[in-house]
């Protein structure tokens, strides 16, 4: 971390015209998809600064999603940890229960403007699938969600929710049967049905312009949090903490404050069974830059360039790649990327539930576990904002199974 190094960077100028964040990002897809990406880029560039588009997006966020989400002062937990004052950005209180809905509302609006009648999505933990199925139901669009068969087992509740919402859930049985394979399958569907289908990508990764538009739609989190912090405490936060799978909730919180040099930022990866175990998803600890799913970014890969399987107790974090803007922020030292093990996340899941009466998603529990380490190293007049990206209801079966309970 080196503040002076970052002070001259104009973060708003990234990505560049070709979708690059430094050496990362870009557009690495088969030729069939290039035209659809060009079309999406043009539509997005025309709409993003259009006041009527922004007004419609804001209206949906206010009246359908329930924004602004609160910035909650976790007083009891702060006292218990005995350091910084901890504030939680309550994305878990959004409609559908996670930050994912911000982005799907935005992309569904784009789908509406492109006149496509069908949407597809990939999902790991199911939150993005549920959010996509929700907006599809609302707009009367056909919807198919790709999900690894392994994740379908882990997230039965969300699978059923998607089906109730009228979506078809397609079980992907290739490769590691998780999020990355679901993304491969969604790309294939898109290449085949590119004329009538809008692909709603759920994280700040994939080919340009997806990392940019997902970031922009999720930036509502950081814009609100920044203002709420000023309103409630009279100053900016000293640290931001968010979990990083693909990294959409993290980039949403971080991006609007990247230019605020005093704000330190921590992205928390899934340490799984521990970084030495080989069973984890720490792209910034063990990963190497490469090309997957349409972008250049840090990847979990072997020496032959094959993508390797990752592990996390949280289905939303075991992705072998990471959003390209995170890769760039890592290289320039603006954001610190750290990791938390399955066990540490599970402990924080229980503790936050008991101490604050808030049950965090297992993804968010990774961020909470890092707060536990960070807060005691800071003083009582300092402020941490941690992103509570989603609620833990969907993970109850996983936690209960670990406790030996069948629900």
């Amino acid at each position: 971390m080196n503040d002076s190094k970052t002070s001259t960077v104009d973060y708003s100028s990234f990505p560049d015209a070709k979708g690059h964040f430094g050496p990362y990002g870009g557009r690495f897809v088969s030729e069939t998809l290039i035209h659809a990406l060009d079309e999406l880029e043009t539509i997005y560039n025309n709409l993003k600064d259009d006041p009527s588009f922004q007004a419609e997006f804001d209206k949906d966020l206010a009246h359908y999603v329930g924004r602004p989400s609160p910035l909650y002062f976790a007083e009891r937990w702060s006292r218990e940890l005995g350091g910084a004052q901890i504030f939680l950005k309550r994305e878990d209180l959004n409609h559908t229960g996670a930050h994912k809905v911000n982005n799907t509302i935005g992309q569904a609006l784009l789908a509406k403007f492109t006149g496509k009648s069908r949407v597809i999505a990939e999902t790991g933990a199911g939150q993005h699938g549920v959010a996509t199925a929700t907006v599809a139901a609302r707009l009367g669009l056909k919807c198919r969600v790709y999900m690894g068969s392994e994740d379908i087992k882990r997230q039965a509740l969300n699978v059923y929710r998607m089906k109730l919402l009228g979506a078809e859930v397609f079980s992907v049985t290739s490769g590691s049967r998780t999020l990355k394979d679901a993304m491969n399958e969604a790309m294939r569907d898109w290449a085949t049905n590119v004329d009538d289908t809008f692909y709603i990508i759920g994280t700040a990764a994939g080919p340009h312009p997806y990392p940019q538009l997902v970031r922009d739609f999720q930036s509502i989190i950081g814009r609100e949090a920044r203002q709420q912090c000023l309103d409630q405490t009279g100053k900016l936060p000293d640290a931001l903490v968010a979990c990083v799978g693909g990294g959409s909730n993290a980039i949403g919180l971080f991006h609007p404050m990247l230019g605020d040099e005093s704000v330190k930022m921590y992205g928390v990866e899934a340490g799984g069974l521990g970084v030495e175990s080989g069973s984890h998803a720490t792209r910034f600890y063990q990963g190497v830059p490469g090309v997957l799913h349409g972008n250049r970014t840090y990847l979990m890969q072997d020496t032959n360039g094959q993508i390797i399987e990752t592990h996390s107790v949280s289905a939303g974090l075991d992705y072998p790649g990471v959003g390209p803007q995170h890769s760039w922020l890592h290289d320039i030292g603006r954001v610190n990327y750290v990791s938390i093990t399955d066990q540490e996340a599970l402990t924080s899941f229980r503790e936050l539930t008991l101490i604050e009466g808030i049950m965090p998603a297992l993804e968010s529990s990774h961020a909470m576990a890092y707060v536990k380490k960070l807060a005691p190293t800071m003083s009582k007049d300092q402020i941490i904002i941690a992103n509570l990206s989603g609620r833990g209801d969907k993970d109850i079966h996983t936690v209960a199974a670990i406790d030996g309970i069948t629900i």
């Binding site: 030729e31 069939t32 090309v291 997957l292 349409g294 094959q306």
Partner: protein, 269 residues
């Protein structure tokens, strides 16, 4: 002139259509590939496209994805693929070999190291499915420096201006993807192929080969009538998958029979 250009030039002069065959290196097991390559040539294949196994072959349909998975079960790498070409060259100096795969294994190998090693092994060209010309960067320069052709795909969705830019970057031949979708899909529209090929023909002197969706001798013949050549892949890979566990000779004979059939159809044009 590259081995690929020579081959296509010879075929054109003789009024023949070029037959390109795609198989995945190491499918179903490593020691089968070389035998199959020689048999394909014996039965009338003009150019071999050798798939480099990748863990996430996003542009492939289920048939070819399974082939990648079979090969990766034996840990077949890009280095192994170069070794197979080197072996092939010991007894075949004429048949061009194009490596077809995804960017990440090539990137991990290193662009310069790859171009050098591929050239030394006797590879003639590279087709990287997920590396459009905007992102090809330094790889193109390295391929040029080592005399390797850079094959690019054109798709039904490629607009005219972009097709011109691609044609200007490509060498060897242009590979027209005959349908929207992944390899092995089954909704080829010959009329659409005809219209697009007429358009491409006016913007480049490069030969055009057509692939994706060519399942049998009849489709191969219909498409070849419009193009300089056809690419067949899934039909061969499907057969290889069915014969998993058989000897290299059995697999080579079965794939060779498919090729002979298509060769005869092309030669009847």
């Amino acid at each position: 002139m590259s081995r690929i250009s020579q081959q296509l030039g010879r075929a054109k002069a003789a009024g023949k259509k070029t037959l390109v065959a795609y198989i995945v290196n190491g499918d179903p097991v490593p020691d089968v590939t070389l035998t199959v390559m020689h048999k394909l040539v014996e039965k009338g294949v003009d150019i071999i496209e050798l798939g480099v196994p990748f863990s996430d072959p996003m542009a492939e349909g289920p048939v070819i994805q399974k082939a990648h998975e079979r090969a990766l079960a034996s840990n077949v790498s890009l280095t192994d693929t170069l070794n197979v070409v080197q072996e092939f060259r010991k007894t075949n100096a004429d048949t061009p070999v194009v490596l077809m795969g995804y960017a990440n294994p090539v990137e991990r190998f290193g662009y310069e190291a790859f171009a050098k090693a591929a050239s030394a092994a006797g590879v003639d060209g590279l087709l990287t499915v997920d590396l459009p010309f905007e992102e090809v960067g330094d790889l193109r320069a390295q391929l040029d420096a080592h005399g390797l052709d850079n094959i690019f795909l054109l798709a039904p969705t490629t607009r005219a201006e972009r097709a011109r830019q691609i044609a200007a970057q490509a060498s060897g031949f242009l590979y027209y993807v005959s349908l929207k979708g992944v390899t092995g899909a089954g909704h080829l529209d010959v009329e659409e192929v005809k219209n697009r090929l007429a358009e491409f023909g006016s913007m480049s002197n490069l030969p055009v080969c057509v692939g994706f969706g060519i399942k049998d001798a009849a489709t191969a013949k219909a498409v070849a009538a419009l193009a300089d050549g056809v690419v067949i892949g899934s039909v061969l890979v499907n057969k290889i998958g069915e014969l998993q566990g058989e000897t290299a000779e059995v697999i080579a004979d079965a794939t060779g029979a498919i090729v002979a059939d298509i060769r005869a159809a092309l030669d009847s044009l």
